[in-house]
């Protein structure tokens, strides 16, 4: 029919898979958007921190009864551990991009271990700080920010555990490993939040 000339031939509905012809995979875009929302969430908490700090310039810090905030012996080591875990995570991503599933599993396991070490270190730190969430505005902001960051690290370790379990079942390959890419993005984000948090809490004084 003339109405159905080749240039305007109606097309059969494409499946979801064929819609995503080029560019970023949809799950990865979803993760990026989720990270954008997380940036705004931590943005809100950081804004609350700086607002409170601006209103209490003379006496900002732990209450007088508690020891001063120190980066040693815990805060700096766990920072180094978390930053290293970003590198090990990236090694896992590079490994699976080459199709090296064994190395991927190895580096994910190392990352998971480092993440859990960070969380344990943070909990240990909490027991030694000498002040609580209810001891004035500094304590409130300190525990809220570090606590929510810790919760995000925990969520990351859950993700890593799932990756490891799926990896051990032989689920990932050079072509099909979007979950590894997505979790690694999230893990890097959590790491960046900690760097901002560590700098703000311990150095911007």
């Amino acid at each position: 029919m003339s109405a159905e000339a080749p240039a305007v031939r109606p097309q059969v509905t494409q499946t979801t898979a064929t819609h995503q012809r080029a560019g970023m995979p949809t799950p990865l875009l979803g993760m990026l958007l989720f990270i954008a929302s997380e940036v705004m969430f931590f943005g809100g908490l950081f804004a609350a921190y700086f607002n409170s700090r601006a209103a209490n310039q003379s006496d900002w810090g732990p209450p007088p009864s508690a020891p001063p905030l120190e980066i040693l012996p815990i805060a700096l080591p766990i920072t180094i551990i978390l930053v290293s875990s970003s590198f090990t995570m990236q090694f896992a991503v590079w490994a699976i991009r080459r199709g090296d599933t064994a190395r991927m599993k190895f580096w994910i396991a190392i990352t998971l271990l480092l993440g859990l070490t960070f969380l344990s270190g943070q909990l240990l730190d909490y027991t030694k700080l000498g002040f609580g969430i209810g001891d004035g505005i500094f304590g409130t902001t300190f525990y809220t920010l570090t606590g929510f960051h810790g919760a995000h690290v925990f969520a990351g370790t859950v993700g890593l555990t799932i990756l490891l379990a799926r990896g051990l079942q032989g689920q990932f390959s050079q072509r099909n490993h979007v979950a590894v890419e997505a979790i690694s993005m999230y893990w890097h984000f959590v790491d960046v939040v900690w760097i901002a948090l560590f700098t703000t809490l311990y150095f911007l004084r």
Binding site: Q11, Q14, S37, F41, G43, S52, T140
Partner: protein
């Protein structure tokens, strides 16, 4: 068999009707559940509004005491905004956006179902305060210290948790919409061929994605203050109650555009269809939408002029600036109708009603953007009038326009036009009788959120008229409900494209199959179905032009 068919065999496996709806990940079913759930909350919050208006009809406390009155207007505001206007438009977007871009579903169907199911859960938690010694009672804005030191009961905690869930639902939904619109468009559907409704949903989703997490941070901070001895908003231990207002309105003002932009999108679909013209200035409209989205993040402190801690000229200027892209849209809409072949269906009436009512709300908004005026009108009934002209006169008119416009697509039957027109005129009149007098009450100095007022204040007449209007709105819902029921029983079956629409949702059956499209028409403009309908006209015109050229040369 030797023959193959292109129609996918999608008949889902047999299961009960209830289980099918409870477990569905089909964007159309989820969209309908969104809409039904939202309307249930709408009726509930409407009843609370009637309680508030009944109490205010004449001086003295007749029906409620101070505490129940405070709970009534708090629940009314919270539910109307978080559980009606936002989700009902998200529901229409859920149903319509994949169809309009020619996609088989949303990008993340299971997350889509999760976004929906969090809503009744969150709404139920918010309302469950009534079972535990009283619901939250500090207004939908939840200002500290009203919501901290002065609300010791569990109602406010339930309000906080409920809103967190509803906010999470919004964020997940927004991720889904953005991913869908970026990744699932049909071949040929470039960004500047997307229907305007899709554009407004895209900008709205971006606002939700960036604004709602900030509210979540604030809700959590308040929850920590209330339950774990935190000091965020507690001045005695170094906190700052004004911080809540900053956080709340940094979310709260984009929220206004989260509500109004999809309604503007609906109107921008309805007006061209019933004016038989393309939307005037498509690109200008798109850029105005983006501009509103960007500006909405720089105006939050206009809610805080009287706190004395914000830089008035900046926020006043930015607020007035938002009127510019909004004005552009007004001209788009009016120019679309100008010299059009207009048919006043119910959907069109609601769209035109939107224009007129939203214009009033916009103008009273610019009035209050001027700091000196705002100092007089802050927290008076003028603000109540303004916000209802924007939320109700704007967004809710858009919701009903969408309901009458897309009902035939969802169910294959058209809502009765006569009953629809009764609904529209009753609602429009009732709306203005309710809310226009509030401008006058506000200028006379009546504060909002009071349960009683003095008989000598001179506010009795306007309050009484306003209450009559509120009941008129309630009565206007009856022909609507009757219409929906009657249409399901015996409505007119109208085929796939009853309005001669322009966009892809009209290219499939009504209701569409689970996979949406057997075949897609080619997308060569922002009006693919119009192009499909008039493809022979185009060839005829081209042919005539060719003939004329031949004759000229001979």
């Amino acid at each position: 068999m030797a023959t193959t068919t292109l129609t996918p065999q999608v008949g889902s496996y047999r299961r009960s009707w209830i289980l099918e709806w409870l477990t569905t990940v089909d964007h159309k079913k989820i969209g309908i559940m969104y809409i039904v759930n939202s309307f249930l909350f709408f009726f509930l919050a409407g009843i609370l509004a009637l309680a508030v208006r009944s109490e205010l009809a004449v001086p003295g406390l007749q029906f409620l005491d101070d505490a129940t009155y405070n709970q009534a207007f708090t629940m009314h505001g919270t539910i109307m905004i978080f559980l009606f206007v936002v989700p009902v438009l998200a529901g229409f977007a859920n149903y319509i956006v994949p169809l309009q871009i020619g996609a088989p579903d949303m990008a993340f169907p299971r997350i889509n179902a999760l976004s929906f199911w969090l809503l009744p859960l969150g709404g139920g938690l918010i309302l469950s305060g009534y079972l535990f010694g009283g619901a939250a009672a500090e207004g939908w804005t939840g200002y500290t210290p009203l919501s901290s030191a002065y609300s010791p009961g569990p109602g406010t905690d339930l309000w906080l948790i409920g809103l967190l869930l509803v906010g999470t639902a919004s964020i997940l939904g927004s991720i889904n919409f953005i991913a869908t619109i970026f990744k699932m468009r049909a071949p040929g559907m470039t960004f500047f061929r997307m229907p305007i409704f899709v554009w407004t949903v895209l900008v709205t989703a971006t606002l939700i994605l960036l604004a709602t997490p900030v509210l979540a941070a604030g809700l959590i901070a308040l929850f920590i203050d209330r339950n774990y001895g935190g000091s965020f908003f507690e001045p005695a231990t170094g906190g700052n109650p004004i911080l809540w207002q900053h956080i709340f309105w940094f979310f709260g003002h984009p929220e206004v555009y989260i509500v109004i932009l999809p309604a503007m999108g609906v109107v921008s679909e309805v007006l061209p269809t019933f004016s038989r013209k393309p939307l005037f200035g498509y690109r200008a409209f798109v850029f105005a939408t983006i501009a509103i989205g960007l500006l909405s993040f720089s105006v939050w402190a206009h809610h805080m002029f009287t706190t004395g801690v914000v830089f008035l000229p900046f926020f006043s200027f930015m607020t007035a600036l938002i009127a510019v892209p909004t004005g552009v849209k007004m001209f788009n809409w009016i120019a679309t109708m100008y010299r059009g072949s207009i048919s006043f269906t119910t959907a069109m009436l609601f769209a035109v009603g939107f224009l007129a009512m939203f214009l009033i709300g916009g103008i009273s908004g610019v009035m209050m953007a001027e700091a000196p005026v705002d100092f007089h009108l802050q927290d008076t009934y003028f603000a109540v009038a303004h916000l209802h002209y924007v939320f109700f006169g704007g967004a809710v008119m858009g919701v009903f326009a969408a309901t009458y416009y897309w009902f035939p697509k969802m169910f294959g039957r058209r809502l009765n036009e006569k009953l629809g027109k009764v609904h529209f005129w009753l609602m429009l009149i009732g709306f203005n009788v309710t809310f226009f007098p509030m401008h006058i009450l506000g200028i006379q100095g009546m504060p909002r959120r009071i349960a009683d007022y003095s008989p000598t204040a001179g506010w009795t007449v306007w309050n009484f008229i306003s209450t009559i209007g509120a009941f008129t709105i309630a009565i206007s819902i009856l022909p609507f409900l009757l219409n929906v029921v009657a249409t399901f029983i015996n409505g007119e079956r109208v085929g796939d494209d009853p309005w001669e629409g322009n966009t892809l949702e009209w290219a499939t059956s009504s209701p569409p199959p689970p996979y949406n499209f057997d075949r897609l028409p080619p997308v060569r403009s922002e009006r693919p179905v119009f192009d499909l309908r008039h493809r022979h006209d185009r060839e005829r015109l081209l042919g005539e032009a060719a003939m004329a050229a031949v004759e000229e040369h001979s």
